[in-house]
Amino acid sequence: MSAQTAPAIEARQVRKHFGHAIALKGVDFNLPQGDFLTLFGPNGAGKTTLVRIFATLAHPSSGEIRLFGQPLSDGSSDLRRRIGVVSHKSFLYGALSASQNLLFYARMFDLPDPQRSVEQILERVGLAHRMHDAVGTFSRGLEQRCAIARALIHEPDLLLFDEPFTGLDPEAADQLAGLLHQLHDSSRTVLLTSHDLNRGAEMADQIAILAAGRIVYQERRAEFAGTDLADLYRTATQKGRA
């Protein structure tokens, strides 16, 4: 498979255990480039662990993962240029201003013109007017937008969002949804984990359900459209428990 058409994420039999506690029991997963997939699952199903593994933050105990055809196992420090991550933590420094934070990350990713990249990205997430304020003074919604700017600044091909709606008020959540729609249109690959069935499925090309450390459901929009998501979710997670 050539690098252009290789799936953005390809995971085979990924297991992860901490001592005797098992988080992932053999995950098989495939996400083609350009797709938007939402991953659902109950608490403790291993969603965050799986996203952290794809983000190179954690190593799988066994199994194989390829991002864009390149194995994660071989010193993935350069592969990180193609990944952007947003989690419930902002990865920002409260004492520094939005632009200082982003400038720092722009330099870490060797962007040719850090200053310009920062201005552009702040414009895009609608934070230009607050760029010189310390991130510590931001509301949760503003901080989240700044965190998204941080994840997008190096124009990654793959975006990983771990529970991005957590802790957002409805207005901020709507703004985030708008941003996600934008990203979807920009032909980037997006993997989103969520609790919110309707909001999560709204813009997804595919949905998947992770239960008890395994992918128990993965279908394209044509398959799940029109079905009762809550019902589907209940059946799938019970299947995982059995």
Binding site: K89, G94, L96, M108
Partner: protein, 222 residues
């Protein structure tokens, strides 16, 4: 790699410059410790007997405070994970954190030294450069272990409580060497007169910078 290290250290120092969170507490704490020592050792007529030990004890205690603070800042907003998402090796992060710590501890120590000279009525004759060399060598070793242990400590259940328990026993030889060298310099002797202590100090630095560098990815991994 060195460019990235520069960017990382600059970020740490800029954050510290803006908030002054670490230095304000370490320096104030140093003054408090020196004051307590001053009362405790009032009976000692020759201040030079206790002086070097008091100085390094203060450096150590204030240093522990600073190390914990530097790593808690990274921990709170998940900043260290933000760094781990950047296209750099984990070992680069070790060098950067070690350098940041070295700078912040050195600044604390300069202030401590000034207060020490006044409180303990010390005459720094000529040996200032030698003294700075000793302090830098001692601090380099403390920061090398501090980077390793503080990165561990902030991830443990007891958080900052864990750092002194790990750091102090391992640093015993470093403290002995630093105290001996400082005593020699403050007493007007040359560093050559404590050559073997100086070698021990350097050996300590080299060994634990190397071990810290090699094991840092292990500490951060999951």
């Amino acid at each position: 790699m060195w460019r990235k290290i520069f960017v990382l250290v600059k970020k740490d120092l800029l954050a510290e410059w803006t908030s002054k969170e670490i230095l304000s507490s370490t320096v104030f704490f140093s003054v408090l410790v020196l004051m307590v020592f001053n009362f405790s050792f009032e009976m000692v007529t020759d201040r030079m007997v206790a002086g070097p030990g008091i100085l390094w004890t203060t450096f150590l205690f204030a240093g522990i405070l600073g190390m914990n603070r530097l790593f808690l800042t990274e921990r709170e907003d998940g900043g260290i994970e933000g760094l781990m998402l950047c296209p750099i090796d984990r070992t680069t992060l070790y060098i950067a954190k070690w350098l940041s710590l070295l700078v912040i501890l050195s600044l604390t120590e300069i202030a401590t030294l000034a207060v020490f000279v006044v409180f303990f009525n010390i005459a720094l004759q000529g040996g200032l450069i030698a003294l700075v060399a000793v302090i830098v060598l001692g601090t380099a070793g403390l920061a090398a272990l501090g980077t390793t242990f503080a990165a561990m400590a902030v991830r443990t259940r007891t958080r900052e409580m864990m750092l002194p328990m790990l750091l102090i026993p391992i640093s015993v030889p470093l403290l002995m060497a630093a105290v001996k060298c400082t005593a020699a310099v403050l007493g007007g002797a040359t560093l050559a007169s404590v050559g073997s202590w100086l070698q021990l100090l350097i050996a300590f630095d080299v060994i634990f910078i190397a071990v810290g560098y090699m094991t840092f990815p292990t500490i951060l991994e999951e």
